[in-house]
């Protein structure tokens, strides 16, 4: 594949909080349409990595490019952030706005779209995640799975170049995880570029193009799902996958 197809490139990314070095030099890249899954024990910098990509957390070192634009030195961060979708573990829906308005506000206030056009687009995105009937409900009136699907629709409506998912199903009741994963799977199939931090091994196995195993601020191993599950090279990867398997029993 040519260089033009690279949507996201990360080079030697470092981040410390005080004395604690959370990211110790992480590098990888993502091509258009790829889905990559990041796995690893908690506290190994996965969420920090995602937050660094759209500069919600400012890294201490290394570089990030979104297509041809260097994010880490950009002056127009608010512009760049519009192009990076973010889906949060605890949804981050705006409590005082309906599902529809949650999606519209980014379009009208940030992209300065006309209200009617924004409403139409927001409605279309709600339909895409199967929630057109819930358009006029407020977040507190939605189930966890519905909230997260609104969160995804909100990210989608901005027409981002990539969407980052930070443990999108970790706060959900088990019976609600499926509806969110299926929306994500359809997204991946439709060609969206997605970087997903998750412990859902089923999703990782069937949807992702590559799995990245992170531990202690490093990428320990990255390979295709088949490679990773059948033949992990690193001892730590083996142990981690074994533990996950014990927990969730595939």
């Amino acid at each position: 594949m040519s260089e033009e197809n690279v949507v996201l490139k990360i080079e030697n990314l470092k981040k410390s909080f005080g004395d604690k070095e959370v990211l110790k030099g992480v590098s990888f890249e993502m091509k258009k349409g790829e889905t990559k899954v990041i796995i690893g024990p908690s506290g190994t910098g996965k969420s920090t990595l995602l937050a660094c990509i759209n500069m919600l957390v400012v890294p201490n070192g290394g570089k990030i490019w979104l297509e041809n634009e260097e994010v880490t030195s950009a002056k127009n961060l608010n512009k760049i952030r519009q192009e990076i979708g973010f889906v949060f573990q605890d949804f981050g829906l705006f409590s005082h706005l309906t599902a529809l308005k949650n999606i519209m506000i980014g379009l009208t206030k940030v992209k300065k779209m006309e209200k009617e056009a924004a409403r139409e687009l927001a409605m279309a995105e709600l339909k895409r995640v199967g929630l057109e009937k819930e358009a006029s409900l407020y977040p507190a009136q939605l189930s966890g799975g519905q909230k997260q699907r609104v969160g995804i629709a909100r990210a989608l409506a901005m027409k981002p170049k990539i969407i980052l998912f930070d443990e999108p199903t970790s706060a959900l009741d088990p019976e609600l995880i499926g509806e969110v994963l299926s929306v994500m799977k359809n997204l991946a199939l439709s060609g969206m570029t997605m970087l997903v931090v998750t412990h859902e091994m089923g999703f990782a196995r069937t949807v992702s193009d590559e799995i990245i195993f992170m531990e202690n601020g490093y990428i320990v191993e990255q390979s295709s799902p088949e490679e990773m599950f059948k033949n992990p090279k690193n001892q730590r990867t083996k142990e981690f996958l074994f533990k996950l398997n014990e927990l969730y029993g595939e």
Partner: protein, 223 residues
Amino acid sequence: MEKIWNIAVKYWPKLLEGLGVTMEMTLISVVAGFLIGIVLAIARVYGNKFFYGLSTVIIEIIRGTPLLVQLFILYYGLPPLGVNLSPFIAAIIGFAINSGCYQAEYLRGSIQSISGTQMKAARSLGMSKTEAIMQIIMPQALRRVIPAWTNEFIYLLKYTSLAYIVGAPELMAQAKFIASRNFQFFEVYLVVAVIYLVVVLLFTKIFSILEKKVEIPGLEWVR
């Protein structure tokens, strides 16, 4: 009982005049205090070190000193420096600043009670910090602050009675004037107490209606 009623009827115009001044002072200073409070609260939550520090110092000084002392400084303390304020203006400035600092603290608590993920989500959509505060945080924080704010309004309404000490012709000042002429202290102050009570209850009701009106659907059970 009849005596009290007679007092109320006889001095009604005077009392009404005083109540007018009281309400005027209350409304002006609560609104001005609200604006001061928003600025101070935002500085405390989102400001850099300088604005955080400045806001904190102002709030602590105002909250840490008696309102009456603040009024005396404004009314008696400033003229030697060439600033002459009428009792009414001095009282309003004092009340607005004092109330602003209390309102700032209520509002700060209310802002901080809104989940941080909403701020992150707003920023990740490309909103500036100011936009996120105005579009996302404030609409929710202002709703949540209504109960505490009702409290502050009631306090302020009653504390305006301190203004009679610097000579503002509000309800308490009228009462003192009337009572000192007819020596019916008990009756006059009782009438005044009832007037304060009725006004307070009226506004409590208004704010509770407002609170229900702007309630976010789905969150009713939280109460």
